[in-house]
Amino acid sequence: MVILEAKKISRYFGGLAAVKDLDFTVERDEIVGMIGPNGSGKTTVFNMISGVIRPTSGEILFKGDAITRSKPHEICRMGVARTFQVPQPFTGMTVLENVLVGCIYGKGMRLVEARKKAEDILEFTGLGDKMSLPSESITAQDRKRLELARALASDPEILLLDEIMAGLTPKEMDVVLDLLIKLNERGVTLFVVEHVMRAVMKLSERIVVLHYGEKIAEGKPEEVAKNEDVITAYLGERYA
């Protein structure tokens, strides 16, 4: 069953097409990777799915319903959660409070019920001992974890992860990979933007490759890695 579908979505900034006539589908329980060189439009795609910006044209469907013109909070409550490439913690709030916001507003819980759930999520994501710290005081790696924790607060059906591995050591990366695989086993569909090839190749069942806002390849990780267009896009003509 298709959980997320984009039909010919485009987004122009002025005359520049950040994303152009892009089609893709994500099946339920699947792990789909999206890769592409810098500026190829990956984050723009996530911004459109989560309602932060609207596509100039095209349609986005979540479980068959159009969410193209929905507000971010509506999309979140339907079951789509995301993280930000540059972590956006709620500064001035503690780590726990950051996740509480997601429980209260993404999941519709009361403050008193939300606490237990938020604590469980923080334990799961490895922030259990940092709950009461101000969110602006934690390390860059922990901010990445907090992004994940906050996204999980709304019990999403699909999780959009925007470069959650960037800046992590190989060891930390393995921990996060394990977390993501565990989440997927629990029935969370993952749509992953990632620069770290090792991670995305290992994790994804299928990969979509963007270049200048257009899809240039799609398929199993090993197929994509051999694709000439993909190699050209990443390394230039000579290597293809």
Partner: protein, 318 residues
């Protein structure tokens, strides 16, 4: 019942009761000057507290906040003078009009962020002042509006005191409720708040409306208290600046911050104004700069930090 008495025996609540009792008996045995002064302090507590609801909690710096004070004052005045309505009815109407105007202007202006929102609100406040000046048939324009005289300073003291109490109660509720979490999330990162399920427009508008309501209340009481209002007085930009300074001085986004800030700044102003009338604004400017540089989180933030340090040093670090 037993539970309630237990809760009320906690030090925090005992302190609240003590302060309430003190404020209740304070007017007896002080000079008229002191009574008026404290009533003024209360007015500033309401104003700093009201701007704190929107600026302190959501991070939207409202540089036109005085507009709601002015609207509250003029609605109260016009209803009492032109329609001979009783004071409390007129004042409450003033609060509601301020609230409605806040929501109305908030829909377009709260699409802007940071300095742009501040500038838009500043311009809006000036525009409303001009409208009040021009609508002579209703407001008497630049001539000012004389309200029925009611010279009972005890009355205004207690009314202002009640208004302070309601401001504090609402702020306390913001601190404790889910609503407050939404506002603080918006302040932290509005985009992230949206994708975390917070209907950002709804909540920031609600905060704006509440803050307008209380500023309107202060304006309404002020108008009846002073018995004479004119546009450049009740729409005075310098008053917005004072509110902002008080809030930041005490600690924005906290319950007691604006109260402390209002007390300190009003007291300093009173002394400076009496002694160095020409240096007053310069000294105020220096105070602002010192706050921003030395204690960006205000007095409350400073106290928290000092307490935090003590707490840290008493516990061995791992």
């Amino acid at each position: 019942m037993k539970q309630y008495s237990k809760i009320l025996m906690q030090p925090r609540w005992l302190a609240v009761i003590a302060v309430a009792l003190f404020l209740l008996v304070f007017p007896f045995g002080v000079t008229g000057y002191m009574l008026r002064f404290l009533t003024f302090v209360f007015m500033w507590v309401i104003l700093a507290g009201s701007i704190n609801m929107v600026t302190g909690y959501t991070g939207y710096l409202d540089f036109g906040h005085i507009v709601f004070f002015g609207i509250g004052a003029y609605v109260t005045g016009v209803l009492m003078v032109n329609f001979a309505l009783p004071f409390f009815v007129s004042m409450f109407a003033g609060c509601l009009v301020a609230l409605a105007v806040g929501l109305g202007v908030g829909v377009p202006s709260m699409r802007l962020r940071g300095a742009y929102f501040a500038i838009a609100m500043l311009a809006f406040a000036e525009a409303v002042k001009q409208i009040v000046l021009e609508a002579k048939s209703v407001t008497r324009g630049g001539l000012g509006l004389s309200l029925p005289v009611y010279a009972d300073y005890y009355f205004f003291y207690y009314v202002m005191c009640l208004a302070v109490a309601s401001t504090v109660v609402v702020t306390y509720w913001i601190e404790r409720s889910e609503f407050g979490y939404a506002l603080r999330a918006i302040r932290g990162s509005e985009v992230a708040a949206g994708v975390s399920g917070v209907n950002t427009l709804k909540y920031k508008l609600a905060a704006f409306g509440l803050s307008a309501f209380f500023a309107g209340m202060a304006g309404g009481i002020y108008a009846y208290w002073m018995t004479f209002i004119y546009p450049s007085d009740v729409f005075n930009i310098a008053m917005t600046v004072q509110m902002v300074v008080m809030m930041f001085l005490g600690g924005s986004g906290t319950l007691v911050g604006p109260i402390i800030g209002a007390f300190i700044l009003t007291t300093i102003s009173e002394i400076l104004w009496a002694r160095f009338i020409y240096l007053y604004m310069i000294i105020l400017g220096i105070v602002v700069m010192v706050i921003v540089l030395v204690m960006p989180h205000g007095i409350v933030g400073l106290l928290k930090r000092v307490r935090g340090l003590k707490w840290l040093s008493s516990k061995p670090k791992k």
